[in-house]
Each structure stands twice: as structure tokens, then as C-alpha cells.
């Protein structure tokens, strides 16, 4: 386990030394990794840092507002509404890796505009160990690994947490007094809800995914999952109020894990599962079915794409 106090001092010094008097940017996703990296960098270089949050339209319910509130203390925070551009870019695409690639590319475009505008020489990233392993092993590509550095001519890239695991990042976040909602927050993938929608990303599926994820997170709080999610995985027949519905199938997944490298599907009581099912089918006209995923990792991954 990382020794938190010396780690923080060491990294603050490292960031100050690397960046010097120049400007730096960081992409803020709202997840614990980039939030912690941003907080470390802000401690180190203050307003020389511009934190950029891109609202891709693929975020969870209320996420953008929460970011605005949490990072209110950074005067240089920029929130960019890029929903339409992301959805346009994703239109018609069904291949999972291609979807990740498109999102990564669009993210870079949004980001480079800000980077040029503030004349940033340095890029700070919240990359952690498993991101690098999984990208190297081509199990899944992570959008914060590769991409940006090739497109923008940064003098340097600073990745203060490149050797840490998620649980260690949380230790650091706690020490930095990041609001508990960030420190204890469930991991959320860079490409957002797009990887919780199998096949093409549409507004309709996004609405279902967003509402269903909200229900799942709310209902499963007491199980303290490492990650709990809902994914729109296909269509199936149902009957609602005497009418046949060819509606969405929503898969619910809840796992416990230390570091995301392995995961155990949680045993959820029947009543809770039924409440989740009832809320998701009841609040979303187009959902016909809810299933619970019992697969561990391995052989499954935590996310669906």
C-alpha cells in the first residue's frame, strides 16, 4: 500500500518541478482518478492549471452539476457542453472498440481547443496502473492512455499516479480532503454510458441507461458495491398494460473488488432486485425486461464493452 503523506509531498514537488512557470491542463472526468490528479496538481501549481470538464452527454444523472459544485474552488475550471458533437460522431457506430476510439478522438478535439487557448505546455493525466496494463494487453483501450500527446505538442506529460491502484488513489483522495462523494465514488469508465449501451448509442438508449444507472446506484448503496451499473443490452418482448412491447433489456451488475483486476458478482436479496426491476420498467416505458448479471471477473469484465 502506498505511503500517503510522503507520496503527496513527493508528487506536489514533482509536478511543480516539471511544470515550472508554464501552464498545464488536465481533463477532469469526475472520477476519482482525474479528480485526485487535479487536486494534486492544483496544490502544486495553483492557477497555472486549467481543469477541463467535457460534458459528453454520456455522463450519469446529475454528474455535471456535481462536478461544478465540487471543483468550484478552482477559478480556472472550464465546463464544455459537447453533447451534440459526441452523439453526432457516434451515430451509426456499433463496434465497441470503434466507439471507444471515436469518443477518445472527440475528447481530444474538445481538449486541444482549450489547451491552445490557455497556451498550455503541460498535460496532467490521472492515468493509473491498471489503465496501462489493460491498454498494453489490448483487453480494452483506455482513452487517457495515448491519443492526446500525439495530437498536441506538449512539452511534457505529468502522470502523478501512474504507479497506483484504485484503492491507493482513494487513500490519497481522502488525505487531500476531496469530498467523500469523490473519494468513495464508484469508478465510471472514461467513455461513460456509451460502453453501457451495446451497439449504437442513441438518445433513447442513453435516456434509459442514465435513468437505470441512477436507480441501481440508489438502490444498491447499502451493499457498498465497488461498482454497480445498468447496461442496455438488447431488445426483447414484453407486455405492458395489455400491449405487446418490443422493449429494451436492461442488465444490472453489482460487483465487489479491491482493485478492479478481479471482481465478484454480489449476492443481492430478491426484494431489492425486484424493487430495481419495478422502478426501471415502471419509470421507463421502453424497457421490457431487467436481468441480473451473476458473472465474476474473470471470465467477464466489469463493464459490458
Amino acid at each position: 500500500m502506498v505511503d500517503v503523506d510522503p507520496f503527496i509531498d513527493e508528487k506536489i514537488e514533482e509536478i511543480s518541478e516539471s511544470v515550472g512557470d508554464a501552464n498545464a491542463v488536465i481533463g477532469l472526468s469526475g472520477g476519482v482518478d482525474s479528480s485526485t490528479a487535479a487536486a494534486l496538481a492544483y496544490e502544486a501549481i495553483g492557477d497555472q492549471l486549467t481543469a477541463v470538464y467535457v460534458d459528453t452527454g454520456l455522463m450519469r444523472k446529475g454528474e455535471t452539476d456535481q462536478i461544478r459544485e465540487t471543483f468550484d474552488y478552482m477559478d480556472s475550471l472550464r465546463i464544455i457542453d459537447a453533447k451534440d458533437r459526441f452523439l453526432d460522431a457516434l451515430e451509426g457506430e456499433t463496434d465497441p472498440e470503434e466507439k471507444r476510439h471515436i469518443i477518445g478522438e472527440q475528447f481530444i478535439r474538445e481538449f486541444e481547443e482549450v489547451a491552445r487557448d490557455v497556451d498550455a505546455d503541460y498535460l496532467v493525466q490521472g492515468t493509473i496502473y491498471p489503465d496501462r496494463i489493460e491498454s498494453e494487453g489490448t483487453i480494452k483501450s483506455h482513452h487517457n492512455v495515448g491519443g492526446l500527446p500525439e495530437r498536441i505538442d506538449f512539452a511534457g506529460i505529468v502522470e502523478p499516479m501512474r504507479d497506483l491502484y484504485k484503492d491507493e488513489v482513494r487513500e490519497v483522495a481522502r488525505k487531500l480532503d476531496l469530498e467523500s462523494i469523490i473519494a468513495e465514488r464508484m469508478p465510471f469508465p472514461g467513455p461513460g454510458l456509451a460502453v453501457r449501451i451495446l451497439g449504437e448509442v442513441t438518445e433513447e438508449k442513453l435516456d434509459v441507461a442514465r435513468e437505470a444507472n441512477h436507480v441501481v446506484e440508489e438502490e444498491l448503496t447499502e451493499y457498498e458495491p465497488w461498482q454497480a451499473l445498468a447496461a442496455v443490452i438488447g431488445k426483447a418482448t414484453g407486455v405492458k398494460g395489455d400491449n405487446r412491447v418490443h422493449g429494451w433489456v436492461v442488465a444490472v451488475r453489482s460487483v465487489e473488488s479491491r482493485d478492479g483486476m478481479t471482481a465478484r458478482a454480489q449476492e443481492i436479496d430478491w426484494e431489492t432486485l425486484q424493487r430495481i426491476q419495478s422502478r426501471i420498467t415502471g419509470e421507463n416505458e421502453t424497457v421490457s425486461r431487467v436481468v441480473y448479471d451473476v458473472t465474476h471477473k474473470p471470465p467477464a469484465t466489469i463493464e459490458y464493452e
Partner: protein, 182 residues
Amino acid sequence: MTRIDVIDNHGQFTHLEQRALRDMGVDVDIVDNETPPENIDADGLVLSGGPDIDRIGNCPDYLDLDIPVFGICLGMQIIATELNGDVGSGDYGGYADVTVEVTDDTDPLVGSLAPDTRVWASHADEVKDVPEGFERTAKSDVCGVEAMSNTARDLYGVQWHPEVAHTERGEEVFENFLTLCE
């Protein structure tokens, strides 16, 4: 301080092997499996898991370095293949939760886990026959050779992943190996 190198066979858990040893206070590095054997300077080696028996670099040569070697998953299969045991695909892939029965409670690597232990696994292939000089030290319902040892040569292997958080007594296996290296 005892020094152990983790030989990287491109497994996704290689870094967790390093982490497990690091957390025990061992001087540990991840080392590329193409490193020439004469450049290895360690008191013991861990051969990591990995996706492909054709990408094991110089692992076979490391078995002659006269230091304890601990093969994990593919790492154990490398030892079995190299020393004329037999590796083949299992009837039933071993994924996630497996209960392993320790068949030799005197074994220095896994004996302390007897009579049985809950582990996390991820493999399609398995060791069918252990090489000459080796004892099968653990088995399960889904895999005939879950662990094997050659105490005379200090070569050891397990089919599961002691380095992942979900394996119940994984640290104990690394501690037992550390004792063999000291």
C-alpha cells in the same frame, strides 16, 4: 533484503505479483522475459502468467539458475512443458472461484493451506502430467494439477492466482515462497 524478480510473461496480473511482494517489504522488480539469464541477479524468481506459451522468452533458461522459481498459471505450465511433463487443454476452464484441495500438507509452498483453500483462477489449459521429480501438491474438481513442487530443485508452481485480491490466502503463498528464497 531478499530480492525477487517477477518475470513478465505479458499477464494482466503480473503487476499484482509485484504488488503482493512489494507490500511484504521484498525488493522486487518486474523483468522482461527476454532478459539474458546471466543478467538475472535475484534470490528467487516468479514466472508470471500470460496469454501465450509462444511468448515466454528466456523462461526455460531461468530454471537452470539454481535459485527458487515459482511459476504462476502459465508460469507453472512453462515449468511442466520444459521439464517433459504434459500440458493440454482442460475439459472445463477454471475461472473465478475454485476450491483447491491441498494433497500434500508438508509441501513448503502450499502445505500450510491444507486441507483446502478458496482461490481465484483464469485458465483454459492445465498441467496433465507433472514432470519427473515433481509431486502434485494440490487439485480441484475442475483441474487435476492445481499445484506441483520439486523441493530438491526448488521449483514450484500453482495453477491459480495467489496475487489477486479474491484469492483468500494468496499472501501466505508468497510468504512461503519468500521463506524458500531467504
